[in-house]
Symmetry: C2
Amino acid sequence: MTKHHPDTPSGERPTGPSRRRLLGTAGAAGAAGLVLGAAGGALGTAAATEPPTDLATVGRSRVPFHGAHQPGIVEPAQAHGHLIAFDLAADAGRKEAAALLRRWSRTAEALMAGETPSSRLHDTGIALDAGPSSLTVTFGFGRSFFGRTGLVAHRPAALEPLPPFSSDALDPRRSDGDLWIQIGADDALVAFHALRALQREADGTARVRWQMNGFNRSPGATAGPRTPRNLMGQIDGTNNPKETDEDFERRVFVPAGGDPAWMAGGSYAVLRRIRMLLDDWERTPLAEQEKVLGRRKSDGAPLSGGSETTPVDLEKRNADGDLAIAADAHVRVSAPETNGGAAMLRRSFSYHDGFRDDGAPDAGLLFIAWQADPLKGFVPVQRKLDRGDALSRFIRHEASALFAVPGGAGEGEYVGQRLLEG
Amino acid sequence: MTKHHPDTPSGERPTGPSRRRLLGTAGAAGAAGLVLGAAGGALGTAAATEPPTDLATVGRSRVPFHGAHQPGIVEPAQAHGHLIAFDLAADAGRKEAAALLRRWSRTAEALMAGETPSSRLHDTGIALDAGPSSLTVTFGFGRSFFGRTGLVAHRPAALEPLPPFSSDALDPRRSDGDLWIQIGADDALVAFHALRALQREADGTARVRWQMNGFNRSPGATAGPRTPRNLMGQIDGTNNPKETDEDFERRVFVPAGGDPAWMAGGSYAVLRRIRMLLDDWERTPLAEQEKVLGRRKSDGAPLSGGSETTPVDLEKRNADGDLAIAADAHVRVSAPETNGGAAMLRRSFSYHDGFRDDGAPDAGLLFIAWQADPLKGFVPVQRKLDRGDALSRFIRHEASALFAVPGGAGEGEYVGQRLLEG
């Protein structure tokens, strides 16, 4: 099996941190050939004979599986995402869960390298021809996992159920779960292939509890780095913590020596399926939409002035004496300054599942927030939003989950090994 | 409003004909600025200040709205597709339908140019920042449209209902419809924006009957031109008619002087929502999968030998005397040679709507076939497949529709004008 040899960091993605994203550089033709050879894998596809184009960087881009943290957290969100939660089978315990995580890790490592995973099951080749396409696979444990595997003593305190919020309209069938996988890739077939391969490995050990599909802007659709827009048309993520921030690691990842020890290098993921009431939103005049958010639609600049990245001035008043950013504007209520510094790394996907029976679009945001401690991230911010966010009349939280996402696997290790064999 | 000035054909797409696909070339920086300026439209986003990258060609790529044929037929299928069918409101007739097609055409023209459509409704800006991203919008009329608008005398004979097939398991709620729009774009937000904008224009005149979402490989995921793969992992579309074929126009488009006259330059679209029984398929060994299709998984070469583009040799026998391509292989049963030369231009999207209640993936192909006459395209081929295609035990046809897609609008004209004002 030809291996891909990434050695240069790449910064061509539209936005966000990218230190883990790598491109092969054995000469453009050579690199593309390697990737295609690797993707061919056991099915033995012919090496690429076409000259690669610049656009092939989408396929060639590769994220390493091994590392201090799992992939799929600090990398920019990809164009396609699949979220899938499983519950362990009634007869599966700690031993079976450990075997599953071992199979899943081996499969994820191969898929992320653009290789065909070795498996008791043959591969169906959906991802052939394409490179790794920035595929990331991220594994998490839900609160219920620990009871089913006799590991309650190792259950993080941070997995306490999220408090109820007044605006919740949660569907328990699409919430929670013993195990969670987040899949992201810049090619739809690469992402779907990973979903099917990982699901097959769970056969007999865990059954699907729920599954959701999401998307973001395609690489190359904008001319330069851009903060993503959501389906309300709003630039979303400007105030995200940056990897260059001095306190980034501390906010997002559990430190070594934290509690429990097996979570060192890990993070907690809060998932909220947030439906947008787009029919109502789209009938709302632009000026009112901007007032609800506190930012300009066109370029994301705060209504207190400047450009997208200008710090929000919560004290600024207009000529008529009114606050430039309204008291209930989303940007004010969610600002770290008004939440004791609480912050989380948001890395979301939009979703669109057609129309509901009531004729409204079933569309919105698969909101995913990463933090070292949900009680210092999602929970205080959402409590505040729940009380006075002007945006809340345009959205519904319809599903919710919280997962402990352990640190990355070292070479020869599988994800969760420190918990399952600790 | 700054206009985009396309002037070079581009051939960078993975596969298929591309003569309508255009890229701006006013210098890389200039072109990107123009597109971004145009996309900003009435909301007045700032001009691009970032240096454009090569990848921005995805956003910059633009398909013209006006022409002899509607867009979205001969261009390669984009990474994202939305199909939406409408039924006219009870109080809407020919006059209201004409006004709707006029609004839709104006909106589609603006959207495909990367501009914000002017409308009685304000735009929500979901597509801001991105260029046209190869957006195409295609309009069609279903058989029921003609009765509701008093135009039965102008109804094409080709809109006779498709015959029933033994393998049909059709859901009438997701089949047929008075009006149909096919939307495709290489950026998910550009496609969703177009869907919402066009749906809003229908408010009060037509209500949504059904809506489906699909996808294809991302531009740049492969290193060169590639025939698409479907979710079975199979290369799908090798034998598609090519624009360079001598009889391409005749097969795909209704000629001038045809019947009815208003369909000159038009085409008939057959849509079939074909669910793939992926759990069964993925359990089937590779050699058996290849026997079912008659082509090699890895590179699409026919089992009679050669490479993907080698003509299929239906007479070829293996050393043991068996037919190299089995009697019931999909490639044999669907071959033009065995169907009196019947052929159609297939331009499909994969779909994946999560899991069904029975635990199976709700995934497969939004099969779309274009032809000058369904009785010389889809119908004879499907009749043959219905009787003896080995693939049929792995698929279910779950929805079906047939639309008359009129020729393209000339400058100052709207799509369907020759019918509605003829």
